[in-house]
């Protein structure tokens, strides 16, 4: 699996891996060109500190994986960064601008678009309408213009075309007229991702995009995510499947109990004792990926092993 995906690395993928090559593998390390820069973000629920991140940066143009055991605080961290939840303290910049306290819809407009771990397909809208909602800057969304179709029908047609393109990429083209509520769980995940892409985000944040997607489709999705990167979009995703993280991640950030405990390229991170401890407890004799390749990848950075 790793063989063909690594070898299929496009120019942007190579560039971002090269850019990250000299970043030290320590939590909170500075990136050459951060799109997201987070400082001391803290969020507690009653007595429980769900997120307590000292410092973390996300490299522009790269695919960054955010991993960690259940309850580590990954989703909460996503909610905070995208403005869906408010931190107790902390600030962060997106594209160099302070965005703490910015309304979530404004962040989305600025190009920071997220998906949800529990999918939010709009059930009683068609798949196509779901997609069209993702498009930005629609004239017809203004209440006065809405009454005059000639003001927006051309834009609508263009959006429709684009939506169809994306839908066929995600194997949903023949579903476009169906209600989104009639899709399977995996298809909803795909729809949500495609919908997020409708807005041409600068940074797309995917919360477990592969959960419930069948393995055959996972492969093509991995390609899609790499394509997204090749088109210049930064990807930050949460995932539990280590093989997938390994396949497409340029960089991995590990969270446990609300804190960033490790960072680095996939191979190095999965060998990190702290990470293995966080996932498996201190007594273990297992490996994090099914094939165990993470433990050998460093000796073979080109990924030409099997």
């Amino acid at each position: 699996m790793a063989v063909d995906t690594k070898s299929a690395l496009g120019p942007r993928g190579q560039a971002s891996q090269a850019a990250l090559a000299h970043v030290p593998n320590i939590p909170g390390s500075a990136k050459p060109d951060p799109i997201l820069d987070v400082h001391s973000v803290k969020r507690s629920f009653g007595g429980l500190t769900a997120v307590d991140v000292e410092q973390v940066q996300v490299q522009r143009g790269a695919i960054t994986a955010l991993i960690g055991p259940n309850g580590a605080g990954k989703t909460t961290f996503f909610n905070l960064l995208t403005g869906f939840d408010a931190p107790d303290t902390g600030e962060w910049t997106f594209n160099g601008q302070q965005v703490a306290g910015t309304a979530p819809y404004k962040l989305a407009r600025r190009g920071m678009v997220r998906t949800f771990q529990l999918t939010k397909a709009l059930s009683r809208l068609t798949v196509m309408d779901n997609m069209l909602l993702g498009a930005k800057g629609q004239t017809g969304e203004h209440i006065y213009a809405a009454f005059f179709p000639f003001l927006w029908s051309k834009q609508e047609r263009a959006n429709r075309e684009r939506a169809m393109e994306l839908l066929s990429r995600f194997n949903l083209a023949e579903k476009s007229a169906d209600f989104a509520g009639s899709l399977s769980g995996g298809q909803r995940k795909l729809l949500e991702m495609a919908r997020a892409l409708m807005s041409d985000p600068e940074l797309i944040m995917l919360d477990e995009p592969m959960a419930g997607v069948n393995p055959a489709l996972t492969q093509s999705l991995l390609h899609h995510i790499k394509d997204i990167r090749e088109e210049g979009t930064t990807v930050l995703f949460v995932e539990h499947d280590m093989d997938m993280v390994h396949d497409i991640g340029d960089w991995v950030i590990v969270m446990a109990m609300g804190q960033i405990i490790a960072e680095g390229p996939p191979g190095a991170v999965m060998k990190d004792q702290n990470v293995i401890d966080a996932y498996l407890g201190t007594h273990h004799d297992k490996e994090l990926t099914e094939s165990g390749k993470s433990l050998t990848v460093d000796s073979d950075p080109e990924g030409t092993h099997s």
């Binding site: 939010k120 009683r124 179709p149 949500e192």
Partner: protein, 328 residues
């Protein structure tokens, strides 16, 4: 028993002023609840504001009806802002609580003794409220509605009323099939998903509340003009619940839902009532008194509506497939 008369009475009611008022209230509620998913349990408040604004401006202040109508619509916008600003950022149920409370509060304010000089207390406002409108009646003085039993004055109101409904329905149709309509339907399904796509959900909800409120107020305006009287105790929460019944009967989130719902609701209510009265008079039913007809017809219509909800829960115009989906 005169079946022809029962039918004529029922159709008169089905197309009459009351049906028009409820139809407008239901069109407004359809924008708010049917399309946007806003749980407005105080639609009667907008009808009240519409009717009382007309009464106060025309009778209390002695100004023109043509000035009163825009003032009434403006007042409904202000009410929507007052209700919406504190609640639309919160969960859906808050709006429900606030609107039902506000509608009762409003009724208690207009019937209060302290403000009797403005709103007329329990007697409400009576007088030549709709005179300027009725003066424009083009129907000949000796006009008799064929078959139906409208007075000349009511026939004029009904004519204008249905034209207004047609215009508003056309506007709603334009709106909901536009990208704006797509956003509000998205909000009905899951507002966080819509936020994540960069839409200012609060603004859309506010717009829907205002628009729906204005259409509801239009119902109140017609009420005041047609009945030439505004009584506080007609604006009880029942009005809101009848409006919901009408909307669900016709089918929520359907352009023709409120229209068909209102016509059918008043047809059934009047038809059952008239039929019972006639049957009692004719001696067919001897265990009921004529005074029982009022409550009994509500019971019968209620049972009918319950069966409809069981056997056709999507309403007359609704799409069954939509209900099968797990709406979250």
């Amino acid at each position: 028993m005169d079946i022809g008369f029962v039918l004529a009475q029922s159709i008169t009611q089905a197309l009459g002023v009351t049906a028009i008022i409820y139809c407008l209230a239901a069109i407004g509620l359809n924008i708010q609840f049917g399309y946007t998913g806003l749980l407005n349990f105080g639609q009667v408040a907008f009808v009240t504001v519409g009717a009382y604004s007309i009464g106060v401006v025309v009778v209390t202040m002695g100004l023109s009806l043509w000035l009163a109508i825009p003032i009434a619509l403006l007042a409904s916008v202000i009410l929507a802002l007052i209700l919406g600003i504190p609640t639309l950022r919160l969960r859906a149920d808050y709006l429900a609580i606030v609107t039902i409370a506000a509608s009762e509060l409003l009724r208690l304010v207009v019937r209060s003794i302290a403000l009797r000089d403005i709103f007329g207390g329990v007697n409400g406002i009576n007088g030549k409220i709709g005179e300027q409108f009725h003066a424009l009646n083009p129907l000949p003085a000796e006009f008799v509605t064929p078959y139906l039993t409208f007075s000349r004055q009511d026939a004029w109101v009904v004519l204008v009323g249905w034209v207004i409904i047609a215009i508003i329905s056309f506007g709603v149709w334009l709106l909901v099939r536009s990208p704006w309509g797509r956003v509000v339907r998205g909000i009905r399904e899951d507002e966080y998903a819509v936020v994540s796509l960069g839409k200012n959900v609060f603004v859309y909800k506010m717009q829907a509340l205002i628009l729906g409120g204005m259409v509801g107020a239009m119902g109140g305006i017609i009420w005041a003009i047609a009945k030439q009287s505004v009584q506080p105790d007609t604006f009880v929460p029942d009005v809101t619940f009848f409006t919901y019944t009408i909307l669900l009967l016709g089918g929520a989130a359907r352009i023709f839902g409120p229209i068909v719902g209102a016509i059918l609701f008043w047809f059934l209510l009047a038809g059952v009532g008239e039929f019972l009265s006639q049957a009692i008079q004719a001696g067919w039913i001897d265990f009921l008194k004529p005074t029982d007809v009022g409550p009994i017809r509500f019971i019968l219509v209620g049972i009918g509506l319950m069966s409809l909800m069981i056997f056709r829960p999507q309403g007359i115009f609704g799409d069954k497939r939509e209900l099968a989906l797990d709406g979250r």
